[in-house]
């Protein structure tokens, strides 16, 4: 009786506790590993979000198809629906590669999904008339000689265009060029920008450059320039000379001198989002709005244009760099992780690095070390999903299966900004 009362009061006798712990301890440890779990979990998340997206797609299809069928029946004709953008994972990842040894080659390296490197020696294919040197320089720095061209690899970082060609900037005294090189690196064309223009990114049709407060499109084939849109002079949409830019899903993103990132519709200039990058380094907000104090130097939009990954280094000497990831629609900082410092002397990570979205929840940074061995390094970041609304007593995920919560999935349809985007740009000369 006394024993029963004791047990009802939740006490577990010591000998039973010891027995259970002995039984548990007698087994070999858990043989699973974190990487396999992450892979399996990422696949599940894709299925959950894919399932929700599929259901939404079916509903949307019904909503669109029924009125369309009615319209076709009424008019007796057929309607054509334009195809949406194809979103593919992982993004291709290229970065500037160079050897520090004398006579060493330089070019673009593509880090393949399995981590292997594909070397693309593009420089001989674009400049045969003058000597080339392989430099990593910021746009604000002068090139050393009027007879030598530099490979401007920092601004912007090399891109892979949607058709597989490579795009990068080159520079000489008083001039700036952009080059488009075939996928195999054997042939390419260059076009010279007008003085004062700064190329920042490219899509399959145009290279985008900044001219004062205007965004100018240079036709990749002909090199002809046209102004797409202009921003009001007082809205500080300035481009940081040491920062990167990117285009994905029709969205153009870049870092401005006030340490913020702007995301606009690339073709119209309609503002999608304005992200405060100083939140990444709250103790190192630039004192003066000089355009050079903002640290984030490499950025990459996800293939659907909904998230923005930023690589920066300032204020964190213990890490090789840091990666911050923002939700473009809400401006929420989803994750901020350190890239571990490797042994040996610090490497100039910014300027020789690139980011790529590997999966919807993974961002990989790769950076050239500038020496023969190791030639480059990579690091993978797991990106958390956007935070769900505050939990309620009934919002716990079901242990038996099914999505944890509807709010845990994507908050916006692919490629759509939240709310009504405001239009800050006034088209001129487009």
């Amino acid at each position: 009786m006394a024993d029963d009362l004791n047990l009802m009061l939740e006490d577990v006798p010591d000998d039973v506790t010891a027995l259970v712990r002995e039984a548990a301890g007698s087994m070999p440890g858990y043989p699973g590993d974190l990487r396999a779990t992450a892979r399996r979990g990422a696949a599940k998340r894709l299925r959950y979000t894919g399932g929700m997206a599929g259901a939404a797609a079916v509903l949307a299809l019904v909503a669109v198809a029924v009125p369309a069928l009615i319209a076709v029946n009424r008019s007796g004709g057929a309607t054509a629906t334009p195809a949406g953008p194809v979103i593919s994972w992982p993004q291709r990842q290229v970065l500037t590669m160079l050897h520090s040894r004398p006579g060493g080659s330089c070019g673009i390296g593509e880090v393949l999904p399995d981590g292997a490197l594909r070397w693309i020696p593009v420089l001989p294919s674009v400049r045969k008339d003058v000597p080339l040197i392989c430099l990593v320089v910021y746009r604000t720095q002068p090139t050393p000689s009027s007879q030598v061209w530099a490979f401007l690899s920092v601004v912007p970082a090399p891109h892979v265009l949607p058709d597989g060609r490579f795009f990068f900037a080159m520079g000489g005294p008083g001039h700036e060029q952009f080059a488009v090189v075939d996928a195999d690196g054997t042939s390419g064309t260059t076009h010279t920008l007008k003085p004062g223009d700064s190329v920042i990114a490219a899509d399959e049709r145009d290279a985008f450059a900044l001219r004062g407060h205007s965004v100018v499109a240079y036709d990749l084939r002909t090199g002809a320039a046209r102004v797409l849109y202009s921003f009001p002079p007082d809205n500080q949409l300035r481009f940081s000379a040491q920062s990167d830019a990117d285009i994905e899903a029709g969205r153009l993103a870049w870092v401005s001198g006030d340490c913020s990132a702007w995301v606009v519709d690339a073709r119209t200039g309609t503002l999608v989002s304005h992200l405060d990058l100083a939140a990444l380094t709250p103790n190192h907000r630039p004192a003066a709005d000089t355009g050079t104090a903002c640290d984030p130097g490499v950025l990459r939009l996800s293939p659907d244009g909904r998230r923005l990954a930023v690589l920066y280094t300032r204020g964190h000497p213990s890490a090789a760099g840091w990666i911050g990831v923002f939700d473009v629609a809400s401006g929420e900082l989803l994750g901020n992780v350190a890239v571990p410092q490797t042994s040996g002397p610090p490497q100039p990570m910014i300027g020789l690095a690139s980011l790529a979205w590997f999966e919807p929840q993974k961002v990989r940074v790769a950076w050239s070390t500038g020496v023969a061995s190791p030639l480059y390094r990579t690091y993978m970041m797991l990106v958390p999903e956007p935070a769900a609304p505050s939990p309620s007593p009934t919002s716990s995920p079901s242990p038996g299966g099914g999505p944890a919560s509807p709010s845990a999935g994507p908050s916006q349809p692919s490629g759509q900004p939240s709310g009504q985007p405001s239009r800050l740009a006034s088209p001129s000369g487009g």
Binding site: L7, L19, V20, G32, H274, S418
Partner: protein, 172 residues
């Protein structure tokens, strides 16, 4: 215009890694004791941790993510056994299935004693002893009344103690 929130979310990926490193092994042992099958426990742990990863933003906010993962693993294993039984009638399960590869005879004996208990009693004992949960937390996790947990615990502990006493009396 969408303005930034201006606040840093914790690094969820690192949080999950920390959760995994601190919970996965204990979760596996708890499931192995409950299920009496280390192979099935391994699969159940894999499944539970993968689901936790997939829903980590929500799971991480739960009061007891480890308990949630245990329940997920248990439910998954139960469903799997039901499915297998439906499709291919199995012989009665051998409580020593998936015996430990290491450990002395004491551990094997302890496993045998625990395996002799009905599963519901094993579950509450594992929750109390290995997962350090109170009866209230256990009841909430399993979706049963506090009294049910207490009575299962009492019966299970009583059975274990009587077996232990018997074996001590028999000099085993």
């Amino acid at each position: 215009m969408a303005r930034p929130a201006g606040r840093a979310q914790p690094a969820k990926a690192l949080e999950f890694e920390e959760f995994y490193r601190s919970h996965a092994d204990r979760l596996y042992r708890a499931l192995a004791l409950t299920l009496g099958d280390t192979h099935l426990a391994k699969e159940a742990t894999d499944e539970a941790t993968a689901r936790a990863y997939a829903r980590w933003p929500t799971v991480s906010r739960l009061e007891n993510p480890g308990g949630w993962a245990y329940r997920v693993g248990l439910n998954w294993a139960t469903s799997w056994r039901r499915k297998v039984r439906r499709e291919r009638p199995m012989p009665p399960s051998d409580p020593r299935e998936g015996e430990p590869a290491t450990g002395g005879s004491g551990g094997v004996e302890a496993l045998r004693l625990l395996a002799a208990l009905p599963v519901p009693q094993r579950v509450v004992i594992v929750c109390r002893v290995l997962l350090d949960m109170s009866t209230v937390e256990t009841a909430r996790l399993l979706g049963v009344a506090d009294g049910t947990v207490k009575s299962r615990l009492a019966r299970g502990l009583s059975a274990l103690r009587s077996t232990l006493t018997e074996e001590m009396d028999n000099g085993r």
